[in-house]
Amino acid sequence: MPTIDAGDTAWVLMSIALVMLMTPGLALFYGGLVRRKNVLSTIMHSFFILGLVSVTWVLWGYTLAFGPDTGLGIIGGLDWLALEGVGASPSDVYATTVPHLAFAAFQGMFAIITPALITGAFAERKRFKAFVLFAVAWSTLVYAPVAHWVWSPDGWLVGLGVLDFAGGTVVHLSSGVAALVAALYIGRRSGLTEASTEPHDVPMTVLGAGLLWFGWFGFNAGSALGANGLAATAVVTTNTAAGMAAITWVTLSWLHRGTPSVLGAAVGAVAGLVAVTPAAGFVTPAAAVLIGLAAGAVCYGAAQLRLRSRIDDALDVFAVHGVGGALGAVATGVFATTAVNAAGLDGLLAGNPGQVGAQIVGIVAVGAYSAMATGTLLFAINLVTPIRVEDVSEEAGLDLAQHGEIAYQP
């Protein structure tokens, strides 16, 4: 019979608050990157999702993602609808030393931030009404099943040995791929010029990145689901990769463009945090340095390629979260070692090359499903209400056109 551990419970409850703060942090991160006429609408995407998915997660999200499997490892049943049967006692399956409700709430914070990440792709041109319907549908039909595949003990990707400590595939790859599909579907912003896409408030973005970095300790170390050595490992690997990726991105931008970009430090840190997420509880601090280096370099390259393309993924969600998430998943297959986490698996460098293959299967499965489902949802919602705002609204800015408010008085 599982019993509650006070230390573990305190840490998980604290982690809920830390991860919750990441979504307002993301709102500021994205808000600073857009033009001043769209800052409120961009912030609103994340903040509304914080309310929306808080409710849908309790009503049906948690049971679909973590409820008893319906038989094929694809989706959970409705046993825990509205958290009925999820109480103050620990679950027999998940986080067996903390109240089941605490585990459900912790996972809910992941469910909240994942669709919020996608919003960076369609910033400055998506109709709010369409966004709301998309957020409900995507969190239900994409996030919940993918979380079940990877994190339910009966999930089909778990059965293949896919490792994802805190959401490299479930959160970042799924949202990054969805962002790419959304950017392609909705099309480029009108009248784009290089100057018109410059961030309107870099300090706001850096503040957001700082809050994300802070909250990520709950995201990754909280995923240890206990106040223990594994959580300490995750804290160190998370911080190390973030730092390494930030200084790598800055160095590359310095050499490439001639200036050490402040914005690059913020985006680079986030890229490192993304990449270390699936690996945080499976790898050593030294491996985290290499993961941070790779994340800074590869995501920087991906962002440069996107700039040269016609794809208007406005805030580079795919370059940072899609590419970073996939990179981190592969790196987990390379660097994982049971010397760090006996409950995990060894990776390539610990004598198990097959783990890289398992990780690639996970990447392909999650990426393909997210792409197909996202495209289908956008098509269906576009039949109900146009996804994109009218040209005159886009020109005026979504703050005024969609919300009747402006961020800054003239």
Partner: protein
């Protein structure tokens, strides 16, 4: 109670579907020039 909770969300969902898609017809104001320092600090290739 569970049904009541689901129903309350369903009411909001219907409201979102029937709500106006554009809040109001906007008056267009020119976007102020971009931040010169930002442009200077992060020039595009």
């Amino acid at each position: 109670m569970v049904l009541a909770a689901l129903a309350s969300f369903a009411v909001l969902l219907v409201a979102w579907i029937v709500a106006p898609g554009e809040s109001r017809r906007p008056d267009i104001h020119d976007e102020p020039a971009s931040q010169p320092l930002a442009v200077a600090a992060w020039p595009r290739a």
